[in-house]
């Protein structure tokens, strides 16, 4: 029943970086005359990648910048050739690597829809059939006969996406294009992708917004330095990816937890009279960590971080950096971090807690994203920081 949509077999890709490659016939001639040989080095963007993408699955491809995600996508699409290995694909492929590929400034929206649709593989007849739907989706009824050079960048992107979601591929390759437009538009984009899934189409999605992988995909693939680092359910792959990001930020996430001390629970407590969804700037937040040591451990350190919804590290502190000493722990112990006076005007923040040895070499336990709180957007405060400010007004004579 489950067919293979894309079979990736031992695929490697190297880019030859030639130092001062001749870019003109003149240069080539002079190089020949001077008998200059070219220096180059090979950069392996991908090495020995093997993966089978089944028909009807949605693969989330994640990894840090430069890990080879886009290169892999371009090879599946046929834009780049593998250096070694074979990619076999079945069915019509549409690659959304750039919204509005081939849009021409001097053409109207209507003309560009037909041009772009043909580039994405639709025939004229097929485009005719979905044209109204494209215009509805982009919400550009009044501007469809205006040249796109007069469009705002938002309108341009919307039109590009509207065409893109109306293509009729068996395999859809999407590269970082979902983060377009306002929230309502994004919602419809996601709906559209979900209906693609229901129709049994195969989707490969490259994204930095890893929550999308969890929400949309059925499988996750994480690339790291050109090799497949991990595959599996979106949850496990996203967790591994977050862990990698965390590792770059905080030194104590190293190796597997030994579980000599376990984090029994992490509780984020809002200030009195409020809920965690309704925290206000300047409030206090308490992070309460319950530890349980199965055997006696000398002098552990509890560390806490806050990340925002873009996985940016906003805050980190530990009992060691705060000058507290936990001493010898056996059995249960409770540690409370009271974060006084939150300096944010809005946003959602995620709490991660770790327990390590004092030299930070041994990780006892890690509780990633074990809690969160959010500060609702306040219309009169759109800046990032909330700073306690005193006002002093006096006569300056």
């Amino acid at each position: 029943m489950s067919q293979t949509a894309v079979q990736i077999d031992q695929v490697s890709k190297s880019f030859r970086r030639v130092k001062q490659a001749p870019t003109s016939i003149k240069q080539r001639m002079t190089n020949k005359l001077r008998r200059r040989t070219l220096e180059y080095d090979d950069f392996w963007a991908l090495q020995e990648i093997s993966y089978e993408i089944k028909t009807g699955t949605s693969i989330g491809l994640i990894g840090p910048n430069g890990s080879g995600k886009t290169t892999l996508l371009k090879m599946i699409a046929g834009i780049l050739r593998p250096t070694t290995g074979v990619i076999t694909s079945r069915g019509r492929i549409a690659a959304l690597l750039e919204l509005g590929a081939g849009f021409h400034q001097e053409l109207t929206g209507r003309e560009n829809v037909y041009l772009n649709a043909s580039i994405l593989g639709l025939t004229k007849k097929e485009t005719d059939a979905v044209f109204d739907s494209i215009v509805d989706f982009a919400e550009l009824h009044d501007f469809i006969d205006t040249k796109v050079k007069f469009y705002s960048s938002g309108m341009y992107m919307r039109l590009g996406f509207a065409v893109a979601v109306h293509v009729d591929p068996d395999i859809l390759l999407v590269d970082e294009v979902l983060a377009v437009g306002d929230e309502g538009f994004q919602r419809r984009c996601l709906d559209r992708i979900q209906s693609f899934q229901q129709e049994g189409r195969t989707i490969v999605l490259v994204t930095h917004v890893v929550d999308q992988v969890r929400d949309i995909c059925t499988e996750g693939v994480m690339l790291l330095n050109g090799v497949v680092h991990q595959t599996g359910t979106p949850e496990t792959v996203v967790r591994e990816y977050r862990r990698l990001l965390l590792k770059e930020d905080v030194p104590w996430v190293a190796g597997e937890p030994t579980r000599d001390i376990e984090i029994a629970s992490v509780q984020v407590l809002p200030p009195e009279g409020r809920t965690l969804d309704d925290v206000e700037p300047g409030d206090n937040i308490t992070i309460q960590v319950d530890l349980k040591a199965s055997r006696a451990v000398e002098d552990p350190v509890v560390a806490v971080t806050l990340h925002d919804h873009h996985d940016v590290l906003e805050y980190q502190e530990s009992t060691a950096s705060l000058g507290a000493n936990l001493g010898r722990i056996q059995g249960a112990r409770r540690v409370r971090f009271v974060l006084r006076w939150l300096p944010y005007t809005s946003g959602e923040y995620f709490v991660t807690v770790g327990v390590t040895s004092r030299d930070e070499r041994t990780l006892y336990d890690l509780a990633e994203r074990s809690g969160s709180f959010s500060i609702p957007v306040q219309t009169n405060k759109i800046a990032v920081a909330h700073i306690a400010t005193d006002i002093i007004v006096e006569d300056a004579t």
Binding site: Q3, T23, I25, R81, E98, L107, I119, H166, G200
Partner: protein, 331 residues
């Protein structure tokens, strides 16, 4: 395309509620059975498979040509008149030089000039656009998969439209000078046009691929084309060229010229087709204007050019195809 058209647009939602799991939509479609293989080697070059690939993406070709024409013509108030203005301007300048400044040697000069100039403009115009066609469409080449041949082919398409418009100007002058449109010589026109398009396409593939690696190809090309123009009898009598070359230190180099300059061969055929009379009357005497080849000989020459161009096209197409796999990396 056996996929039901009903699964389009808004109806797609309904399509999704059908029992898809019993019959996966991907298994029934003819086109989805197409398996694509991508390896380090470019696929084996076969004219049939390349042709089929381009045919499958013909909509892009048509739309790119349409785009170029739209951009070219809707931006200006004069529109399509611009491409007719070029031969008219040439006509004015060369008529002034060759009938006023210099003693006139060619009767009905406009018809003579235009019958060669339409050939040259198609050749020259295509190569100018084709040499930049890959580089100018970098974003497409790097972001979308399609047969890259479409880019140089679209430049041929665009200049063919100009060619048609400029031929209209030629026909107007033929009417003005009372030329007949019927005659055996007119049969040379379709034959020569095929030869022209084949030869131009062959060179277009070559320069467009080369310009990706060596960006000064287009500048070098301009110089070559300038020299080529004056070595081809378009503004001066073809008979003059034949006479000069047929006795170079006692050696007849004219056959060599016919082999080395296929554009001139095609120009000769066009001139014979439209200008018709090789030795028209000038001031009461007959004067040699066209080459001394007969209609039959020119027809044979065109067949030879067609065969030669077809062989050349296969060579340049193959080399273009081999290079095309690396375009996305080299841009």
């Amino acid at each position: 395309m056996t996929k039901p058209q009903a699964s389009k647009g808004e109806e797609r939602q309904q399509a999704a509620t059908r029992p898809l799991l019993d019959s996966p939509p991907v298994a029934t479609s003819a086109r989805t059975d197409r398996t694509t293989l991508r390896t380090s080697e470019s696929a084996r070059f076969g004219l049939l498979t390349r042709g089929a690939d381009i045919w499958a993406y013909r909509e892009i070709l048509v739309n790119l040509i349409r785009k170029d024409l739209r951009v070219k013509y809707t931006q200006s108030k004069l529109g399509a008149f611009w491409s007719m203005l070029n031969p008219i301007l040439y006509l004015a300048i060369f008529s002034f030089v060759f009938t006023v400044v210099l003693p006139p040697t060619i009767p009905n000069f406009p018809v003579y000039l235009l019958s060669g100039l339409v050939v040259w403009n198609l050749f020259n115009g295509t190569l100018a656009i084709a040499s930049r066609s890959i580089v100018d469409n970098t974003s497409l080449v790097k972001k979308v998969y399609f047969p890259k041949e479409i880019l140089p082919l679209s430049s041929v398409g665009v200049t063919l439209v100009d060619f048609a418009l400029q031929t209209l100007v030629l026909i107007v002058f033929m009417v003005v000078f009372g030329y007949p449109f019927l005659g055996l010589n007119m049969l040379l026109f379709p034959l020569a046009l095929v030869a022209l398009v084949l030869f131009t396409t062959a060179i277009a593939f070559w320069v467009s691929g080369l310009n990706v690696r060596y960006r000064d190809t287009q500048h070098l090309l301009n110089l070559v084309l300038l020299a080529w123009f004056w070595f081809t009898p378009i503004v001066y009598p073809a008979a003059q060229m034949e006479k000069t070359l047929s006795n170079v230190f006692g050696v007849d180099l004219f056959p060599v010229y016919l082999v080395l300059n296929p554009v001139a061969d095609i120009v000769f055929a066009f001139q014979r087709a439209f200008y018709a009379d090789p030795t028209p009357m000038l001031n009461g005497e007959s004067t040699d204007v066209l080459v001394s080849l007969g209609v039959g000989q020119l027809a044979l020459l065109m067949v030879a050019v067609i065969i030669g161009s077809a062989i050349l096209l296969r060579i340049t197409w193959k080399s273009f195809f081999k290079m095309a796999g690396d375009f996305a990396e080299e841009l």
